[in-house]
Amino acid sequence: MDNALRELYQEVILDHSRHPRHHGVLDGATHQAEGYNPLCGDRVTVYLKLGDDNRVADIKFVGKGCAISQASASMMTEMLRGRTAHEADRLMKGFLHLVRGEDASDLPDDDRERLEVMGGISEFPMRVKCATLAWHTYKNAVEEGKKEAAA
């Protein structure tokens, strides 16, 4: 089989898309945002409970879309849980570098190893947006998604 395809649809990614982690509405979320890609109809809503200094105390998502978008959202929730705002920013930057096939060496080794599974997407430029949707939605939730009740 095509190596690039094997790399893209490897078991870890398919497993995340079939059995998404932290899937569902987060009760008591302090922040949330909806991401939508009008080109393909992929949809993801990210719920956050932010602690002191915007540390990700809890995170969940619901969504509908292709395997890449859903797997990426699922993996993101695993990666972001417990992170400080600064760590989360660095993760996101590194992830964006990775999926665009750019240098991601500024990521800590263990983070890079876990995220590298998504690196295969860089061979599929038309699909990069699928992988980044959840991360942009997370960022949007932090910056503009503060819920009224939690204010």
Binding site: M1, L5, Y9, C40, G41, D42, R43, G65, M126, R127
Partner: protein, 414 residues
């Protein structure tokens, strides 16, 4: 396998394929299998050569200069208009307005014809299977002028219920806007009947012919239709050009669309008068080279036995439909009788974009997504479908490649 000779002796698909250079290229090392002509068709060599030859020997701006080349270019541009006239069997050449595509043609009708005639509460009838280009221009009138959109549903097989459409036309209806052929379902609408029913109630009809004109013979006089929009790039012609057919009586009564050169009679500092149709609706320098390309494409298509081409495309559709019908993990969306050569489907557990990515690596180009038809996606309870659309240059081998790709995708994703 391929036996085009058995399908229609008067259409030789291999000979036609040789006209399209791009079909001999490979993608990721695999022969290109192009099943996305519904989005845009490939261009035969004669179209590309024709445009280049024109640009190299007769090109200048039109309707302006008195010099030799301007006259030559104007002749070609106006000849292209007559080619479109003939293709649609319009009564007069000045009933053809060149636009940049089907979308602009429909926006022109929305702005110049319908908008001045809309009062709050007036209704526009359209079907749920319209492409956004035949939806959004009417939404503008809803948003800005209080028009009401009356949606006609399709049956579960994707066919149009003419009685439902008839029932949706009320004394408040100002226009029926309907596709000639759905870009997702392949459904071909009974335009003649739609026009007859609408006219019986005094309502004009616009047809979006962007798909229909490719696969059906269009005779606007026999249809007695008021407006018919086409686009060049789906008709094996270039991008950047389309046309609107409109009855002379409508065009004469319509206000200008865009303002600029070419569309005026006289401009003073405090008054203005406008050119007669079609120039009134063709502001600015038109797509001149593209008009030559479009005319060449229409001549190319018309030189075939169109019935034989249609039979060939239907054979491909039937062949593909039979095979996917055997997969219990695949749901075909759109099975209307006598539909055109478009196959849309949803595959269990496989998102359309993942499927399209895997097919792509096999060299098979299909469209995945909502196909600019979100009301239709909602009707069938899906967010996206995969679509294979067949053109005159496709073969049964292309269908075989699609089927093999579907099996492969299932192997990877499931």
């Amino acid at each position: 396998m391929n036996a085009p000779g058995k399908i229609a002796a008067s259409f030789d698909v291999e000979k036609a394929r040789a006209d399209f250079e791009i079909l001999s290229r490979t993608v990721y090392g695999k022969p290109l299998v192009y099943l996305d002509s519904g989005a845009s068709a490939q261009k035969p060599r004669i179209v590309l050569d024709g445009m280049r030859d024109f640009a190299q020997t007769e090109y200048a701006n039109v309707h302006r200069g008195v010099h030799f080349l301007s006259a030559a270019a104007t002749d070609r541009y106006e000849a292209a208009r007559r080619t479109v006239q003939k293709f649609l069997n319009a009564a007069r050449e000045d009933e053809i307005v060149f636009t940049k595509g089907g979308t602009e043609a429909i926006n022109l009708v929305s702005y110049s014809y319908l908008a001045p005639r809309i009062q709050p509460g007036d209704e526009i009838v359209l079907t749920v299977m319209e492409h956004h280009s035949n939806v959004v221009p009417w939404h503008f009138l809803r948003e800005r002028q209080g028009a009401v959109l009356r949606w006609v549903d399709v049956r579960d097989d994707g066919s149009l219920d003419i009685e439902a459409l008839d029932a949706a036309i009320t004394p408040a209806t100002k226009l029926v806007a309907v596709t000639h052929m759905s870009n997702v379902l392949g459904t071909v609408t009974p335009l003649k009947e739609i026009v007859a029913r609408s006219h019986a109630k005094g309502v004009p009809v616009l047809a979006d012919g962007c798909q229909g004109a490719v696969h059906e013979m269009v005779d606007v006089q026999a249809l007695d239709i008021d407006f018919y929009a086409i686009t060049g790039h789906k008709l094996y012609g270039p991008t950047g050009i389309g046309a609107l057919y409109a009855k002379r009586t409508h065009l004469k009564a319509m206000r200008p669309f865009q303002g600029g050169g070419e569309m005026i009679r006289e401009v003073a500092k405090d008054r203005i008068s406008y050119a007669d149709p079609p120039a009134r609706f063709e502001a600015g320098t038109p797509p001149i080279i593209e008009s030559v390309g479009l005319a060449t494409a229409l001549d190319y298509l018309s030189a075939f036995d169109r019935k034989a081409v249609s039979a060939h495309e239907h054979d491909l559709l039937t062949y593909a439909r039979e095979q996917v019908g055997q997969f219990n993990w695949l749901r075909v969306i759109g099975d209307a009788p006598d539909k055109g050569a478009i196959l849309s489907f949803e595959a269990e557990g496989m998102h359309a974009h993942d499927l399209a990515t895997i097919l792509d690596r096999e060299g098979v180009a299909v469209r995945a997504g909502h196909h600019c038809a979100q009301p239709l996606m909602e009707r069938f309870g899906v967010t996206s479908t995969s679509r294979a659309s067949f053109a005159l240059y496709n073969t049964r081998a292309d269908v075989d490649a699609l089927i093999a790709g579907l099996h492969k995708a299932r192997g990877i994703l499931m």
